[in-house]
């Protein structure tokens, strides 16, 4: 049992977080903490709710217990590589270590409006960083991540044309509430796309990053689609519903879609402190989920109690947050840690192989000198191959540049195709009704469709980019190595993905609405017709009843025609506005996709080129060593053999530290 230093709760041996207070347990066991110079905090974690900076800042970002060992193994390997005069391998390991430490575990908090998502984030961190209000809803996604000093940055959309980069602005943490609340300057608030907050909190210190999302109004809303697209990049999802009622049909629909993107999820029932029948609701929700065939843990919590946990001891247990922390620990951190450790092991394995190449070659020459020339020949061939890998006309480079070109064309075509289908569908929708009445519905519908189209297009891009990198890797014949970080899934992209679809102008802008209604107040031809009938009545009577009948018929037809003409005009205007909007959207998305693909190409190329350089260096050095070994005297050979055996052992010794418990 591991005892939590802050709250005293006994936790299972392999846990990295306290189930009670959420404190990180690594600091309570002396083993890892002293090695990395992490100072155990002296004050308790739980502090009054009003305190904004509840956590003492640990001096380094600690990636969490299972990762710590891997990090130290990588460090050892790096020292060894430098000893072997291989700074290039040292850099490779340094990169792997940096990747491991900077690991971001995005956990998205999603759910309907007013279910207590922001409060849940606050309660998890025991802070008041997310603005909470009875009335105002969270309008923009807030990303809460680890930072040594509390700070916040607001991302604004550029004032000018769409497609320009976002404007970042540093905000005082205490003023976040003002920024997103009603009191803020509305023009400024409208441009606000997302908020990023850094807090020195231990939960975040493990790489967990919480994303507080705006409420989704069912799948119909654009917000829902945006949230869904963001979920593609999250490691885990906390689906929030409250104890006031059982899960509703839109909630279930959203949940089903969201699970396709983020299968790691938990359903949290908040506000259990307010409702005496919360156990019934939890039971009903479990049943609904089971009926829908969704296997999801249901965790009832009370953020209210957890935020007041500093007042008395029992409150934290009563709040039910322990179960949520357990979930974060086992399902998110441990699962991702396993993956990260596997990746790091692959990096280590690659380095080992490279170091061994030189040693093994020399050993072979020393052991059987008569094989010397054959070995040198073999290595010569290898060196030639690796040199070719580095050249810009090497096959893998071809695969990459051709692949990217194809990809850009395909993604563009896909987008154009989707947008065209959407335009046709929009025109049909407009034809079915009178824009005067249906416009507000069409506006909302179109906005949602555009976001969904873009999301689908983005999915395709991601899938294909991943396939391409696999293909390049195959062509490169790199059997082992780090998984390649694609430019598409880096944490910064998480926010970009969220804001992507929000910087578009809504098609329901004032201008069109005014235009549509203007149709009603425009000069009305029918009244002129009536006027004519009135003034010429005497004449018509003189002409007899048949003429009167004709006149009346003519008038009625004119009215009908005029109505029809106005309707057609309105429809045309609406169609044009929709088309403009869709074009604009296609332009922005197209540029965005092409940009990220180019970035992907650059990153892939650099990654593989580095690797080619490492391979070449290894084969080159192996060649040099082997040649040198063939010229050694028997006496020197013996000494060298001992040295090499030692080196070999050292390299082999790198493995055991990596085997996870």
């Amino acid at each position: 049992m591991k005892k939590c230093a802050t709250c005293g709760r006994e936790n299972p041996v392999d846990s990295s977080f306290c189930g009670g207070c959420g404190g990180y347990l690594g600091w309570s066991s002396t083993g890892t903490s002293t090695k990395h110079g992490v100072i155990a905090p002296s004050e308790p974690v739980v502090e009054p709710v009003v305190v904004l900076r509840p956590e003492p800042a640990p001096p380094t970002v600690d990636p969490g217990a299972p990762l710590t060992e891997t990090v130290s193994a990588l460090e050892q390997a790096r020292l060894l590589a430098e000893q072997c005069r291989r700074p290039d391998l040292g850099r490779h390991l340094e990169d792997a270590r940096a990747r491991l430490v900077a690991q971001v575990l995005g956990v998205a908090v999603v759910g309907e409006f007013k279910r207590g998502k922001s409060t849940l984030v606050n309660a998890l961190l025991q802070t008041d960083i997310c603005p909470v209000d009875a009335d105002i809803v969270t309008a923009v996604p807030t990303l809460v991540r680890y930072g040594e000093t509390p700070q916040a940055v607001a991302h604004f959309s550029p004032a000018g044309e769409t497609g320009a980069p976002t404007v970042d602005e540093s905000v005082d943490v205490d003023q976040l509430v003002d920024l997103v609340s009603e009191a803020a300057d509305p023009a400024r608030r409208a441009r606000l796309q997302s908020v990023e907050v850094w807090l020195p909190h231990r939960l975040l210190g493990t790489g967990v990053c919480l994303v507080d999302t705006p409420g989704v109004g069912g799948l119909e809303s654009a917000h829902g689609a945006v949230t869904l697209s963001a979920l593609g990049q999250a490691c885990g999802m906390i689906f929030v519903t409250d104890a006031s009622q059982e899960l509703t049909e839109p909630e279930m629909r959203f949940l089903r879609q969201a699970l396709e993107r983020t299968p790691t999820a938990v359903c949290v029932v908040t506000k259990t402190d307010l409702y005496p029948q919360w156990r019934r609701i939890v039971e009903l929700n479990r049943r609904h989920l089971a009926e829908a065939g969704i296997d999801l843990p249901v965790v009832p919590v009370s953020s209210f109690l957890r935020l007041r946990a500093w007042r008395s001891e029992g409150l934290n247990d009563e709040s039910g947050f322990a179960a949520l922390f357990d979930w974060i620990r086992t399902e998110v951190i441990d699962a991702v840690a396993t993956e990260a450790v596997t990746a790091a092991s692959r990096d280590l394995g690659f380095v080992k192989e490279q170091l061994n190449l030189e040693i093994v070659a020399e050993q072979r020459v020393i052991r059987t000198p008569e094989d010397g020339p054959a070995v040198v020949r073999q290595l010569q061939g290898r060196s030639d191959r690796t040199r070719r890998l580095m050249q810009s006309d090497s096959p893998w480079q071809q695969v990459l540049s051709d692949g990217i070109e194809d990809l850009i064309a395909d993604v563009r075509h896909d987008l154009a195709e989707r947008m065209r289908t959407l335009t046709v569908a929009t025109e049909q929708v407009i034809e079915q009704g009178d824009p005067k009445e249906t416009w507000s519905a069409v506006d909302v519908w179109l906005h949602r469709q555009v976001v969904m189209t873009a999301t689908a297009n983005y999915d395709l891009l991601e899938r294909r980019a991943q396939a391409l990198s696999a293909e390049v890797a195959k062509s490169f014949a790199a059997e082992s190595g780090a998984p390649l970080t694609l430019g598409l899934s880096s944490p910064g992209e998480l926010l970009r993905g969220l804001s992507l679809s929000q910087d578009l102008p809504s098609p329901g802008d004032q201008g069109l609405a005014r235009m549509v209604f203007a149709g009603r107040t425009a000069v009305l031809v029918p009244s002129l017709v009536f006027g004519m009938v009135g003034s010429n009545m005497a004449l018509l009577v003189a002409m007899g009843p048949i003429a009167l009948l004709l006149g009346a018929g003519l008038g009625r037809k004119l009215i009908r025609d005029e109505r029809l003409r106005q309707l057609v005009h309105r429809r045309q205007q609406a169609k044009m506005a929709c088309k403009r909007y869709v074009d604009e959207a296609a332009f922005v998305f197209g540029k965005d996709c092409a940009d990220s693909l180019r970035r992907t190409r650059r990153e892939l190329r650099d990654e593989f080129q580095n690797r080619a350089a490492v391979l070449h260096e290894s084969s080159q050095r192996a060649l040099v060593s082997a040649e040198r070994a063939t010229e050694l005297e028997p006496q020197e050979r013996q000494e060298r053999a001992v040295e090499l055996a030692d080196q070999r052992r050292e390299v082999e010794a790198l493995t055991p530290a990596l085997v996870r418990r």
Partner: protein
């Protein structure tokens, strides 16, 4: 205003329906028209609709002042249920196949438990007749929630709404319960369209911000926040277009206030005597209040009962009110609870918006029925009947008012922002009494009313005559002038 249906409009409509009846060709048309005649003298039909678990049944119980509709933490209303006034209590089951059957019911634990005798799927709706004075003027219709997990339940509610113009509208008006502006809420409201006669909803829907006590995590200022939220909804164009009025109501608290018992007051008073720190601990969460052992001498089932009746907010509020000496009897507490729940506000709004307007709404419904039957070909001489409907509809100034009000509120007719409130009031938006229309307090003397009306008349005549004002506005201004003239004519006694 003549509630007995002897006003000129009702008489005209009645004679028109009579003419249609003479021309009816088939049994169905005859039945529809007879139903329309009956409805002219029947109470207003008010549907209570909203998303699942919005608190519809609770509100219905609070409005009747009796526990009739079953309520539960889980989803529980699965059938459309009509609550009508009747000399004796009884439940009738209307089957899908058209059969009508009286069924036994029980009322052990408060709410009605009806023995349907058949599966729920075979039942179209239930009709409950109850001898309650509060049902005399209005028939309440409880509906299953939309956006329910069982889509069949949602479909039932959607079927209550008129589709196309071949079916007469079933309900005259709707109370729409919003918990938050969800997209499915707005879609539902949009589907609540009438035919051309009412052309839409702003005049026959009231938004109710329900479960208002739960807004903002049951803090004691929850209802103030709720009022703020409701005010914001009123300015949201999407909601304003559908129901321009949003009132916050805490149904559970209201119901408790309407039906508070002496024993409950005594239990609450007993809790209120506990020391402050113990009270705080006790009322911290619902679970704590219902725990096995607590510091107050009140058995668990009694505490359970109190929290079920009042909710945590009502409980906290009542204990605070008693503890601070603001109330000292069951009666005072009941009044206070009813007042803060917003139920009084809703009643007043209902009276203003619907009960006074119900004659108009019913006449409109009857005309719609005639038109629907004529269009369907259920009558001989459909052209004549449609023309007659048009004649009645366009000659009744009340209809013009209501249509203009609707156009204004939906934004189809634009008046200068400075006159918006004034014109809405003049057209009866905040009450039909002449004093309310000219913006005076209730009870103003006729000379005061006519003086105010004359002032308004001048300004509107100037507007109507202004060459700068658009044609639409001119037409609107002429209608308003006619309304003001009517007010003046009523205010000045005959002979002057």
């Amino acid at each position: 205003m003549t509630p007995d249906g002897s006003d000129p409009l009702t008489i005209a409509v009645r004679s028109l329906v009579g003419q249609a009846l003479e021309r009816a060709l088939d049994q169905e048309a005859r039945e529809q028209l007879e139903e329309a005649v009956r409805r002219l003298s029947r109470p207003l039909r008010l549907a209570i609709a909203g998303r699942v678990k919005a608190g519809k049944s609770t509100l219905l119980n609070a409005l009747v002042g009796e526990e009739l509709a079953p309520t539960d933490a889980g989803e529980c209303t699965r059938l459309i249920t009509w609550y009508l006034h009747g000399p004796s209590a009884g439940v009738t089951v209307h089957h899908r196949d058209g059969r009508v059957e009286r069924r036994p019911y029980r009322r052990d634990s408060g709410a009605l438990e009806v023995d349907l005798g058949v599966p729920v799927e075979a039942v179209d709706h239930l009709e409950v007749t109850w001898p309650s004075s509060r049902l005399r003027d209005v028939t309440l219709i409880d509906t299953p929630g939309i956006a329910s997990l069982s889509s069949e339940v949602s479909d039932r509610t959607a079927a209550l709404l008129p589709d196309g113009d071949t079916r007469p509208p079933i309900v005259d008006a709707v109370l729409y319960l919003l918990r938050h502006a969800h997209s499915s809420d707005v879609r539902f409201l949009e589907s609540f369209h009438d035919d051309e006669l009412g052309r839409g909803t702003p005049v026959n829907a009231i938004g109710v911000l329900s479960r208002a006590d739960e807004i903002g995590s049951l803090r004691l200022d929850a209802l103030e926040v709720a009022a703020r939220v409701a005010a914001r909804y009123r300015t949201d164009p999407r909601i304003r277009r559908l129901c321009p009025l949003v009132v916050p109501v805490a149904g559970l608290v209201g119901h408790a206030g309407m039906t508070l018992r002496e024993s409950e007051y005594r239990a609450l008073a007993q809790i209120a005597t506990a020391p402050a720190d113990q009270l705080e601990d006790l009322l911290l969460t619902a679970d704590r209040f219902c725990a096995e052992h607590v510091s107050v001498p009140l058995i668990r089932s009694d505490r359970q009962h109190l929290i079920d009746r009042l909710g945590l907010f009502g409980l906290r509020y009542a204990v605070l009110a008693i503890g601070s000496g603001q109330v000292s009897s069951a009666n005072e507490l009941a009044l206070r609870l009813t007042r803060i729940s917003g139920l009084d506000g809703l009643r007043e709004t209902l009276l203003r918006q619907f009960t006074e307007r119900s004659r108009l709404l019913r006449a409109r419904s009857a005309l719609a029925s005639v038109r629907a039957v004529a269009r369907r070909g259920g009558c001989a001489d459909p052209g004549y009947l449609e023309t007659a409907v048009e004649e009645v509809a366009s000659s009744a100034h009340e209809f013009r008012e209501i249509r203009l009000l609707n156009d204004l509120r939906s934004g189809a007719v634009v008046v200068p922002e400075s006159r918006w409130e004034e014109v809405d009031r003049l057209l009866g938006g905040s009450g039909f009494g002449p004093a309310a229309r000219v913006g005076l307090v209730e009870g103003a003397t006729p000379p005061e009313v006519s003086a105010a009306a004359l002032r308004l008349l001048g300004s509107w005549q100037a507007l109507a005559g202004s060459p700068l004002c658009g044609r639409q506005l001119q037409i609107a201004a002429r209608d308003v002038i006619r309304t003001i003239e009517g007010i003046i004519a009523d205010a000045v006694p005959a002979g002057h």
